[in-house]
């Protein structure tokens, strides 16, 4: 019997709120399956389980906030004897989000030990059977407590009203989705977050000349009060982590300007050949170069743990993603050094979309081995970042500009970018850091090989 614990989804996380269970007791689960959605100060995160087996009892109900390491559920490892069912415990902490849940009308009514005699004329009983309403659970409003047609119909309507997980409800508010049109795929037709996402106005394209209002519903504004609360929590989380970084990590900084003309030319020619949807943005090339360079200079790829550097085998590239006004996250693109640029581009688009709609995975939050921040879109020339502990390095790209530059003894106008490195002096020296930036510069001269 294994415990499924509230995971630590980053060095800045002390507690989390269980938003939604994606499996139910008795379901078979496999290592790596997404089983729950957990809310941290920064984002709603899909959490994978680390065991294969049968999902046992739920120990923490949705809407409950618990410290990292708290058992959330039991998993019976594959092959083990069936586990005794432990009753669910709802911690004393007030479940904030749970209040938002609809009354659980769709659940099967608890069997009453001795069903009271219910007065109902045969036609009403017939209707109840047809509509699947348990007449013994109804309180009649007719004369002498007799159950009427209207009572049965009201009960049937209530049953049709789906249950909605607190997370799905929040998401619906943020995405402007009308819950009454969402088809639930959860247990008993309950609406889950995924169902809400699927219901986001698809609006592939309006008929060419159509008014946009007809095809795309305007996104609803995020509930202001909720948003302010989340923003405050996000700022606290970022603040705590960055303060810890600056307190503990002796940063050193390097900077260099790289000729991007070969990459820009290559990309332009290539994007002309590709469908618009497959176009590659410069950021994807820069990320690939940063990932390959991390493999070349392993002293910067890993973690500072217990007073020594632990080198990471893989390059899981953290990518700083702005959530617009709602702060930022830096989830990982796994094995970024092994992906083609086209694949990396797909992963990047997917990651940014999921980061902004609350669908990141736990492993993406915890796995980055080195992080890249790219503020080029915001027009800044260079960015000197703050390292994410326990990582030991952070690379930063500024805006890709056209600038006068001496090439082969002549003055020309070339594409350029300034790349910087912030690194942990406990783990490496400036000389090593310089090799990292050199590697990025060299790799970007041969864009076709990236």
């Amino acid at each position: 019997m294994a415990e499924f614990l509230m995971p630590s989804l980053g060095a800045d996380m002390d507690e989390g709120t269980l938003l939604e269970w994606l499996v139910k007791p008795g379901d078979e689960v496999h290592k790596g399956d997404i089983v729950a959605v957990v809310d941290t100060a920064k984002a709603a995160v899909e959490v994978e389980c680390f065991e294969s087996g049968v999902f046992g009892s739920v120990l923490v109900e949705p809407g409950t906030t618990v410290p990292v390491g708290t058992p959330l559920a039991m998993i019976t490892p594959a092959g083990a004897a069936a586990a005794p069912v432990v009753p669910a415990v709802v911690p004393e902490a007030p479940a904030v989000a749970a209040e938002a849940a609809l009354p659980p009308v769709a659940g099967p009514p608890a069997p009453a030990p001795a069903p009271p005699r219910v007065l109902a004329p045969p036609p009403v009983r017939h209707l109840a059977r047809q509509l699947g309403v348990d007449i013994s659970q109804l309180r009649g409003t007719g004369r002498g407590g007799t159950v009427t047609h209207a009572d049965v119909e009201a009960a049937a309507a209530a049953q049709r009203r789906p249950r909605v997980s607190p997370f799905a409800r929040r998401l619906a508010g943020e995405l402007g989705v009308d819950l009454s049109i969402v088809r639930g795929t959860g247990p008993g037709g309950a609406i889950r977050a995924d169902d809400v996402r699927r219901a986001v106005p698809e609006a592939k394209a309006p008929p060419p000349e159509a008014a946009p209002e007809a095809a795309g519903r305007p996104a609803a504004p995020i509930a202001a009060e909720h948003s302010a609360e989340r923003q405050a929590a996000m700022r606290r989380a970022i603040g705590n982590l960055m303060a810890r970084s600056k307190r503990e990590i002796p940063h050193y900084y390097l900077s260099t300007t790289i000729d991007l003309e070969p990459m820009t030319q290559w990309l332009r020619a290539r994007n002309r050949e590709l469908p618009v949807a497959a176009r590659i943005v410069p950021a994807a090339m820069l990320l690939k170069a940063a990932a390959l360079a991390a493999r070349e200079v392993p002293q910067l790829n890993g973690f500072w743990l217990d007073d020594h550097f632990v080198h990471a085998e893989h390059v899981h590239l953290g990518v700083a993603i702005s959530l617009r006004d709602a702060g930022m996250v830096a989830p990982a693109i796994h094995d970024a050094d092994t992906l083609t640029v086209a694949d990396l581009m797909v992963r990047l688009r997917d990651l940014v979309t999921r980061a902004r709609t609350g669908r990141l995975r736990g492993s993406e939050m915890t796995d980055p081995t080195i992080t890249v921040t790219n503020l080029g879109d915001r027009g800044v020339e260079s960015v000197f970042g703050v390292i994410y502990p326990p990582q030991v390095a952070l690379a930063g790209f500024g805006k890709v500009t056209s600038a006068p530059c001496a090439v082969g003894g002549l003055l020309g106008v070339r594409s350029q970018v300034t790349v910087t490195l912030a690194a942990d002096h406990r783990a490496s020296d400036g000389y090593t850091g310089a090799r990292y930036l050199e590697a990025i510069a060299r790799l970007l001269q041969k864009p076709e090989e990236l």
Partner: protein, 79 residues
Amino acid sequence: MTPQQAREQIGFAVKRAAPGSDIDVIDPDADLREALDLDSLDFLQFVEILSETSGRRIEEDDYPELATLNSSIHFLSAR
């Protein structure tokens, strides 16, 4: 395409690329990406949708024409 149709298509593409964005509240001569806070991925999606709805592929070389709302309307309706 009339300027009004162009404007509607742009408005639609903007809403899809960056939910919550609205071209009705921005200065039509301001830098579009700045005014709507579009990063390069958002902008690519914007171009993708606009290529689809307008029925003509927008090249990267055309991007300068999409600098502002007004220039974008002009670009699409001049076709």
